[in-house]
């Protein structure tokens, strides 16, 4: 299988190279109109078919690696390092992306899959798709070169073949790890597609904004995958790492967040280009930056550039990525300089208080947030270069600098929909802002009344102050969006005579993009409410003997015993705790500590009891060697469930926005059409011309 896999990768590289060269030549010939013996259109089509064949070749290589994992072929070094016989089947599948070589192969396969779909849909716009396909082939050549020459996944072991492998990293042996990395990769790799369309449209001086419309679904789907990857990663960190949190501002987490921010900015600012023909250069650079940031993210994860808990795979492939990033950046700059006259805006923003300027400020804050995260991630390298010592840029820095920016963004999320296009009158502003302002101040009063105060016994707490601002702004934004729904639904109700609920459904169906977007924004608001809850986290730690009790908030945990278990994959010890709320009915919680046989690495399995108000999160920290008693750490984390619930709504809203709207043309099909009295071909107006 190793030979088959290696051969498939070489074939894939050859096909990608042909796709790139033949595609570029064909497009050049079409552009110059030079007479040649072979028709450029036919040459472009052979390039396209090579791309499709490339997908089959990369699929073959990916299959070979997965097959080798399942058949425990430890003659392949990668399989030996990332799998073992006792590894459960789903995690064997996860071994594909648990190491450097496999994850690069996954990247190449996903890129090939995206390219395959793109090449099949080429009839939408043959020339634009040919440009995009050729650019994707260029990216694929890079990844396949890295896989073939720098990080081959099918390298064979020298010497005797061991009986069993080293096993999968225990941190990855969790159900979400089977889906989190592919989602993140689908997001990362997916941004190659809008990038290819953006660069291709600029290269060919594509007339109009149709390319934006074509790439909209690609961008939304990609953005959704990246969002899903990030949130699954957060949930995994929460459930597995056992520190009670879900986001640690780790460089690798940051690496996934940066393209998400620029991608979000792009999704918003392309609306200005579609509606008003504005911000063309800006949008092109946003998509260029997003793609470059996905490459940077991959580099950070692999090159050992910054220290990270997630940096599973470190190697010397950094140089390859540096060179590729420079080539991509140079291509972008060169193409932009050459074609910038094509990107002149049709209109400009007319007023500071308008929907357009709210988009501008939204972009400004998103990009500032991105800069802050990039700055914080790379600052240790800069400080080492300047001062000779590497400083740490951890959560205190980001919480102080990035959180206020996030709150401004939340504010703009509410303000944007309330402002009309072009400019807003003072009267309109007053009318639209009454309800959100009222919601904001009522929430401030309620929060203070119910104890969500920015000060505590230990003084003023900035985190709690930010949380108060976050809660209040969330209420205001929710009121703003809800009032938009109510306003629209009333109009529909008046037109159709349906009730408000049905009218809201019809309203959303008629403009899925707008109202799907609003639903996604409500999801974001719910997520932010959940994030604000972290300011009120509590924790308790105790050595617990039999029937010892630990109280935290309204809960009491009573130790009912400790036990051990073993299976072919790991040994575990776990606590059996009876938890009860306010003396009510008890339920059992069993936090666990595992030690995996193959790797001899320990792993925490947290016990979580979730309610809409808070999570009771219990960690088995191990046994105190001095006393022989186990240590239990309990956290009471308010509103964490809102983060996952808000994410579900964000996904739903985005899916609604992707669904084509019930356009007036199709809507008319559902309305009974009045039949004309006569079906004669006579003109309707006597004497009129036919």
């Amino acid at each position: 299988m190793a030979t088959f896999g290696s051969f498939a990768l070489i074939i894939a590289l050859a096909l990608a190279a042909y796709n790139l060269l033949a595609g570029a030549l064909a497009l050049r010939l079409i552009a110059t109109g030079q007479p040649v013996r072979v028709s450029p259109e036919r040459l472009a089509d052979t390039a396209r078919r090579a791309g499709i064949a490339g997908f089959i070749a990369v699929t073959g290589a990916a299959f070979a690696l997965v097959y080798s994992v399942f058949t425990n072929d430890f003659s392949i070094a990668y399989i030996l390092e990332h799998s073992n016989r006792a590894l459960p089947a789903p995690y064997k599948f996860a071994a594909l992306w648990s190491g450097q070589e496999g994850s690069l192969l996954l990247w190449a396969w996903l890129l090939a899959a995206y390219g395959f779909a793109l090449r099949l849909l080429h009839k939408t716009d043959v020339k634009l798709y040919a440009y995009a396909g050729t650019i994707l082939a260029g990216i694929q050549v890079f990844f396949l070169s890295v896989i073939n020459f720098a990080a081959p996944p099918f390298s064979l072991l020298k010497g005797a073949i061991p009986e069993d492998g080293n096993g999968l990293n225990p941190l990855l042996q969790y159900p979400e790890m089977v889906i989190h990395p592919p989602m993140l990769y689908l997001g990362y790799v997916g941004f190659s597609v809008p990038f290819a369309f953006g660069l291709g449209a600029l290269m060919m001086r594509y007339p109009g904004e149709k390319w934006i419309k074509i790439t909209r679904v690609w961008t939304l789907v990609t953005w959704l995958f990246l969002s899903a990857g990030i949130f699954l990663g957060m949930h995994w960190a929460y459930a597995v790492l056992g520190w009670g949190g879900y986001w640690g501002w780790d460089p690798v987490e940051n690496a996934s967040f940066m393209p998400w921010l620029t991608g979000t900015a792009f999704l918003h600012s392309v609306m200005m280009q579609e509606k008003k023909g504005m911000m063309k250069s800006w949008n092109v650079w946003l998509i260029f930056a997003t793609f470059l940031l996905t490459l940077l993210g991959t580099l950070l994860t692999r090159a050992g550039l910054v220290s990270s808990v997630h940096a599973f795979a470190q190697s010397s492939i950094g140089t390859w990525f540096y060179v590729f990033m420079i080539v991509v950046l140079a291509t972008c700059i060169f193409t932009y300089i050459l074609q910038r006259s094509h990107l002149k805006s049709d209109h400009h923003v007319e007023s500071l208080v308008s929907r357009e300027s709210s988009f501008l400020f939204n972009n400004l804050f998103l990009l500032t947030a991105c800069f802050i995260i990039l700055w914080g991630t790379l600052y240790p390298i800069l400080s080492e270069y300047v001062e000779g010592s590497k400083v740490t840029v951890g959560p205190p820095f980001y919480n102080a600098v990035a959180v206020p920016i996030g709150l401004f963004l939340l504010f703009l999320t509410g303000v944007g929909p309330l402002l009309p296009w072009r400019s807003a009158s003072l009267k309109a502003i007053k009318r639209n802002f009454v309800v959100p302002s009222a919601a904001l101040w009522i929430t401030v009063i309620l929060c203070l009344a119910f104890g969500a105060k920015p000060w505590s016994d230990s003084g003023f707490e900035m985190g709690r102050f930010f949380a108060l601002v976050g809660f209040s702004l969330s209420a205001a934004v929710f009121a703003a969006i809800a009032s938009e729904f109510v306003r629209g639904s009333r109009v529909v109700a008046k037109q159709t005579g349906k009730n408000l609920l049905v009218s809201t459904w019809i309203l959303t169906r008629r403009n899925t993009r707008r109202y799907g977007g609003y639903l996604a924004h409500i999801g974001l608001v719910i997520i932010i409410i959940g994030l604000c809850g972290a300011a009120f986290n509590r924790n308790q730690e105790k050595e617990m003997g039999l029937h010892d009790r630990l109280a935290i908030g309204p809960y009491v945990l009573e130790c009912m015993g400790f036990s051990q278990d073993s299976n072919p994959n790991y040994d575990s010890e776990f606590a059996m705790l009876a938890a009860s709320k306010n003396g009510g009915k008890a339920f059992q919680m069993s936090p666990e500590k595992r030690v995996y046989h193959a790797s001899q690495q320990p792993q925490t399995m947290v016990a979580i009891h979730s309610t809409p108000f808070w999570d009771l999160y219990v960690v088995y920290e191990g046994v105190n060697p001095g006393t022989g008693q186990p240590i239990i750490k309990a956290f009471l984390n308010p509103l964490v469930g809102w983060i996952w619930g808000g994410f579900a709504l964000l996904v739903f809203g985005t899916l609604v926005a992707i669904v084509p709207p019930l356009t007036p043309a199709t809507a008319s099909l559902r309305v009974p059409v009045r039949q004309p009295a006569a079906t004669s071909a006579e003109p309707a107006v006597p004497g009129g011309r036919s």
Partner: protein, 167 residues
């Protein structure tokens, strides 16, 4: 309300707000437990796990328990927050601090984000102002040209019809 009284009202409101915020900021005294939690989240574990000292929880960590013990001892010895941070930085190197310091070159780390935001805001304001002024001037110029054109048409109609052209 006359303007002087109105100004005085706003001044008093601003003073009250300022006083309120100042009181909030200085409220309460830090106890040892909350200082431990706070400082534990301003220091990093040095075992290479990249976690904050207050959150490092992996089994058999060779550093975090000992470091937390040192932190407890320092707090018990009535050392100030900055004094404790300096002592840790002197012992373990600056990487033990969870955020860059606010002096020397590291001040750049804190200033740069706000400088970029300020520059971005200023740039956006100026750009939008430039566009809106340009638009107004264009509209005025357009209106001027249009009125000259209209006058010419009126004059032509007047001459050709021998009257006022029906206006």
């Amino acid at each position: 309300m006359n303007p002087v009284r109105q100004r005085s009202f706003w001044m008093k409101s601003a003073q009250a707000l300022f006083l309120g915020v100042a009181v909030c900021l200085s409220l309460g005294a830090s106890d040892a437990g909350s200082r431990f939690t706070d400082l534990g989240h301003r220091l990093m574990c040095t075992c290479g796990c990249s976690q904050m000292l207050g959150e490092c929880n992996h089994v058999g960590c060779p550093e975090s328990d000992r470091m937390r013990g040192e932190l407890r001892d320092d707090i018990a010895a009535s050392m100030g927050d900055q004094e404790i941070l300096n002592a840790f930085a002197a012992k373990y190197g600056v990487t033990v601090l969870a955020a860059p310091t606010t002096h020397g070159f590291n001040l750049v780390a804190w200033i740069a984000p706000f400088a970029v935001l300020a520059a971005g805001l200023l740039g956006t304001f100026l750009l939008v102002r430039h566009w809106s002024v340009g638009k107004t001037q264009l509209a005025q110029a357009g209106a001027g040209a249009q009125s000259v054109e209209l006058d010419a048409i009126h004059e032509k109609i007047r001459r050709e019809t021998g009257g006022d052209g029906g206006y």
